[in-house]
């Protein structure tokens, strides 16, 4: 475990937004898009993780192995911190056909923050991030970062670059005119497995389609296979309700990513009905 201290070696006045641990193969940076603290302002605070080439970190569902990345944000009392937003991940196949979901390139995990009335700058913020980075081997890493907002200078420039286009990479709920869904092969038994087939019908051929399952506790999803023909995508998967789980899941949330010919990705959120 690489624990990065931000107040080292007499640089007590230098707040560190950046951590680069030589052993963890991931660079971590605290960022925010807050430029001016207006009353009732909402802004974003997050952590950029940049794996070295060939390394990856994991999505909130890491897939068959791995570990979900965690980012915890700490702001002064009165600031309301929303849920962490995760850009659409990529899929990687690890030896032995073990499927992983995560990020092989720079990723920003950030949350929306609402400032209380009367809040004044500077706003101190801390972020604790921890991750598992893997290439041929895996290494646990973590970083504790802090800053005062608004960021200035080089830190502000790096943050602007990180937030550029970030919203476009976030999954959003699918509109009915974008895709329609039907499910065959259910219902899923209260404990045990079923093969489900999800049919996604698009207004036009969708390009490449990847499906990222995000099952809650008590639900296991395996062997997700996707195949498109014309404007129709067939998704096969095996879902299992695990015995001994307190609340059986009624839906399986998924993120569906369309990749067009130019590599542009559109990420949509859908809920697959399991009953």
């Amino acid at each position: 475990m690489n624990r990065i201290r931000f107040s080292a070696f007499g640089l007590a006045l230098a707040l560190s937004v950046l951590a680069a641990a030589e052993d963890s193969h991931v660079r971590a940076r605290l960022v925010s898009d807050l430029e001016a603290l207006n009353p009732g302002a909402t802004f974003h605070v997050g952590v950029v993780l940049e794996p070295e080439p060939g390394w990856h970190v994991y999505w909130r569902n890491p897939g068959g192995a791995g570990l979900a990345t965690e980012v915890a944000l700490e702001l002064p009392d009165g600031f309301a911190v929303g849920e962490l937003r995760w850009p659409a991940p990529v899929v990687f196949v690890q030896p032995g056909d073990i499927i992983g979901y995560g990020y092989e390139q720079l990723v920003l995990l950030a949350a929306e923050v609402a400032a209380p009335p009367g809040a004044a700058a500077p706003v101190p913020v801390r972020a604790a991030a921890s991750w598992l980075a893997c290439k041929d081997v895996c290494v646990l890493g973590s970083a504790e970062l802090e800053a005062e907002l608004p960021l200035t200078g080089e830190a502000a420039a790096a943050a602007r670059a990180a937030f550029a286009g970030w919203r476009d990479r976030l999954p959003r709920p699918a509109r009915p005119d974008e895709v329609s869904m039907s499910v065959t092969g259910g219902p899923l038994p209260s404990t045990g497995a079923a093969e489900l087939t999800v049919w996604l019908s698009w207004p036009e051929p969708p390009g490449e389609v990847d499906v990222f399952p995000d099952p809650g506790p008590g639900l296991k999803v395996e062997a997700v296979r996707t195949r498109s023909r014309g404007a129709l995508t067939r998704v096969d998967l095996t879902a299992t309700r695990l015995a001994g789980s307190s609340a059986p899941a009624a839906v399986l949330p998924v993120v569906v990513v369309r990749t067009d010919g130019e590599g542009g990705r559109t990420a949509l959120e859908l809920d697959i009905d399991l009953d």
């Binding site: 073990i98 039907s182 019908s201």
Partner: protein
């Protein structure tokens, strides 16, 4: 559930990952195997017929495994349940770890049970082992009654009192003649470094 979309166009699709679904799961008979251990002795699952057997997937290069050995998780469990007749077998499906590498690990960590060498991953695939650690409990009838994580604390951040030790719980239940209340959990850890 509707059937409104024609499916015929997909009937010729062959599904590439069928092998995954073929792995044994909870409730299935535990797949038999014979492997050499780290001392070069042949070990078969059938040698332990009628006994409760724990299988632990190992990779000494994985930080989750390193932490559990440092904290004495495996040794503690193996010790505690050895007295109750439970057999502990560690399986290493890491492609680059031969008997010598496993023997060095056993020596370093004071492992006094068998580490089975599965460099070609055959046994790992038969059980669908995905992570290190990935744990299985086999009952006296030779059925898999638990598969999944060692506990519910991937980051090793919980106090012992707040943690659920799934394997210990499953073993206690099996030894008491009860059904395992949590027979399957999502394992955590590094992916098993199978042969490519």
């Amino acid at each position: 559930m509707t059937h409104s979309i024609p499916r015929a166009v997909f009937l010729t699709a062959t599904l590439a990952v069928a092998s995954l679904a073929a792995a044994a799961g909870v409730g299935d008979p535990a797949p038999g195997f014979t492997l050499a251990d780290h001392a070069g002795n042949q070990v078969s699952l059938s040698d332990f017929e009628g006994k409760i057997v724990v299988l632990e997937w190992l990779n000494p290069d994985c930080p989750f495994v390193v932490r559990h050995y440092k904290e004495g998780t495996m040794k503690g469990l193996e010790d505690a349940y050895d007295d109750k007749g439970v057999v502990w077998l560690t399986v290493n499906s890491t492609n680059y770890m031969d008997a010598e590498a496993n023997a060095a690990f056993a020596e370093k960590e004071g492992v006094d049970w068998k580490i089975l060498v599965d460099q070609d991953g055959t046994v790992g695939h038969a059980y669908g082992a995905q992570t290190t650690p990935h744990m299985y409990v086999i009952d006296t009838n030779g059925r898999i009654v638990y598969a999944g994580a060692i506990d519910d604390d991937p980051r090793g951040s919980k106090k012992a009192s707040e943690r659920t030790d799934y394997v210990a719980k499953a073993l206690d239940e099996v030894l008491a003649g009860k059904a395992v209340s949590t027979p399957e959990t999502k394992p955590y850890g590094c992916s098993v470094k199978y042969k490519k």
